[in-house]
């Protein structure tokens, strides 16, 4: 039994469908519509208290709650993995409060709530990405005054953002920002993509999926409608570049995915594996084998699937 269903004794359910009351969901949907209408613009919304602390993805959860229906399939990823505590808890939350089907398969999901990653498998039209955002204001570290950052966005005064990139190149020879790398949306607003690696930035550009961003603590919602131009900020002579690795995924051999470094023993042994756990498993199921798959399976780190 899920908590929103009528109990047998016909008293009222403990919670409304998808936890939030309908008025709140309507308010959030209105904010979402405005955000979609002005891509990259941060729309204030009345963020509610949720049954977990702010900073644990309450912005994303509220957006998902406002969107989800019984026909939806929800995927939740945290740092690319479907099986971390936060991802599991959020999935369970919607299973209990919204009767949602959940899946780890990117292709099956209609709503993908995420923290820190965009799946490696290409997104499709009709899918909705929901990003959990801790710090929606890309200018905040440079300009602490909210009134001032609003003016800077209103009049597209983005020189200061460029100064930040300049500083990085001046000190380190390259832009060292590797996640939450600022982007220009639709040639108009500078936007924080949330703390995804800059590796994922190109996936946002002209994506067929609808991308929604929720910051619960900061009470802001913003959006990228499908097929929106998203350009990572750079200099003509220091063009934006994504990370690359010297070796492919140790488990599935993928050379095109974002890799995490994993320490595998206490003798300094390590390997690089896909951060997107579902992508990696799918490839292994298809018969791709990385150089270290045998070792990893032998030590019980992963199950070796036979094609």
């Amino acid at each position: 039994m899920t908590v929103h269903q009528m109990p047998a004794d016909n008293t009222k359910p403990a919670y409304n469908y998808a936890y939030l009351d309908e008025q709140t969901k309507r308010m959030i949907r209105r904010a979402l519509l405005k955000a979609v209408a002005v891509p990259g613009y941060q729309v204030p919304f009345g963020s509610r208290e949720m049954p977990l602390a702010r900073g644990w993805g309450t912005g994303g959860i509220q957006i998902t709650a406002a969107l989800i229906g019984p026909a939806d399939t929800l995927k939740v990823i945290d740092q690319g993995a479907d099986d971390t505590t936060n991802a599991v808890s959020i999935r369970k939350f919607f299973e209990r409060t919204a009767d949602a089907r959940t899946s780890e398969a990117t292709e099956e999901a209609t709503i993908i709530q995420t923290r820190h990653r965009i799946p490696e498998a290409p997104l499709k039209s009709g899918q909705v990405m929901v990003y959990q955002v801790p710090m929606p204001e890309p200018l905040r570290k440079l300009e602490p005054r909210e009134a001032e950052t609003r003016k800077m966005h209103a009049w597209a005064e983005y020189g200061l953002m460029q100064v930040k990139l300049y500083e990085s190149i001046a000190r380190f020879g390259e832009v060292t920002t590797t996640y939450d790398y600022p982007v220009m949306v639709n040639g108009r607003y500078v936007m924080s993509p949330s703390p995804i690696p800059k590796f994922d930035n190109p996936k946002m550009h002209m994506s067929p999926a609808l991308q929604l961003f929720g910051a619960g603590r900061e009470k802001r919602i913003y959006a990228l409608p499908p097929y929106t131009s998203v350009k990572s900020l750079d200099f003509e002579d220091h063009p934006f570049r994504i990370q690359s690795w010297s070796q492919p995924c140790g488990l599935c051999g993928a050379a095109d995915s974002y890799l995490d470094e994993v320490v595998i023993d206490d003798r300094g042994g390590r390997m690089f594996v896909c951060s997107d756990s579902h992508y990696c498993e799918t490839r292994r199921a298809e018969g791709h084998r990385g150089a270290m798959l045998g070792d990893a399976a032998a030590s019980g780190l992963v199950e070796e699937t036979n094609p």
Binding site: W155, G159, V163, A170, E236
Partner: protein, 268 residues
């Protein structure tokens, strides 16, 4: 004698760069500055002198687009159309302040980003206007650091590692890099040692002349006014009591207050 009546004006320039008409600013009952009018032509350097509290800084803030005056008009002719800086949008005014205008603050901390390197500080206005070539921005920044006598090797140091005089020179480079037509300076040498002041003054004098800048300089130091300015306005209690050619005002002061000011100085 009214200096504005000019039977023999020589039409050196088609129009003043800045026309100020009846600017007044009040703080409740108290007068900040009252009924100030003047024209500033391209390449002219105007000094505003007076004691603390005479209203000179208030006036500068009104002229520079920082504080809206309660009455009066400030007209800037930097582009094709004259611009009433307080009737245009805030957006337009901010754009103006980042491009055609520059403000040099008395305290370099108010005009610099202390956490940003010298190069970034100088390059910001270039990036503001849309420059996106790192190498070119850096080259311009290097050029300007040298023009204000800061070694190129300091380009990646932050201003807090600089002496007061260097910070002030950096602030000047940061403002002048966008080649403004008009620069406002509030006590540019205040708070500096005398020897450091002399170097800064000489630098300002050369830059103002070489770039053909129009400038408005607020100072209580008559020696600074003598060295840098073409014209002077003497302010007392918010009002302009005397104005004219700098050496005229200093050498043959007519108003009682100006006579008091000039006689209070050992030698200017």
């Amino acid at each position: 004698m009214t200096l504005h009546v000019a039977p023999a004006a020589l039409d050196l320039e088609p129009a003043p760069l800045l026309s100020v008409a009846n600017v007044s600013r009040f703080y409740g009952e108290r007068i900040g500055c009252a009924d100030v009018s003047f024209d500033l032509w391209p390449g002219e350097v105007l000094g505003i002198v007076g004691e603390s509290g005479s209203g000179k800084s208030t006036l500068l803030r009104c002229l520079a687009g920082i504080d809206k005056p309660d009455a009066g008009e400030v007209l800037f002719r930097g582009g094709s159309e004259p611009l009433d800086i307080y009737s245009v949008s805030e957006q337009e005014r901010r754009r103006l302040m980042r491009t055609a205008w520059g403000i040099v603050h008395q305290n370099p901390r108010d005009g610099l980003r202390m956490d940003v390197t010298a190069g970034g500080n100088v390059g910001e206005r270039l990036m503001d206007r849309g420059d996106r070539h790192y190498g070119e921005i850096r080259e311009r920044a290097l050029d300007w650091l040298q023009r204000v006598e800061i070694a190129g090797s300091r380009i990646d140091d932050r201003p807090r590692q600089f002496s007061g005089g260097m910070q002030q020179r950096l602030q000047i480079a940061r403002v002048l890099v966008s080649e403004p037509r008009l620069v406002f300076m509030d006590e540019p040498t205040g708070g500096l040692d005398v020897s450091v002041q002399a170097r800064l003054l000489d630098l300002l004098r050369v830059l103002v002349r070489d770039l053909g800048l129009a400038a408005i300089i607020v100072t209580h130091d008559l020696a600074v006014a003598r060295l840098l300015t073409d014209r002077l306005m003497v302010m007392k209690d918010g009002k302009v009591v005397e104005q004219g050619l700098t050496d005229q005002v200093l050498d043959d002061p007519h108003h009682a207050y100006t006579q008091l000011l000039t006689s209070a100085v050992l030698s200017v």
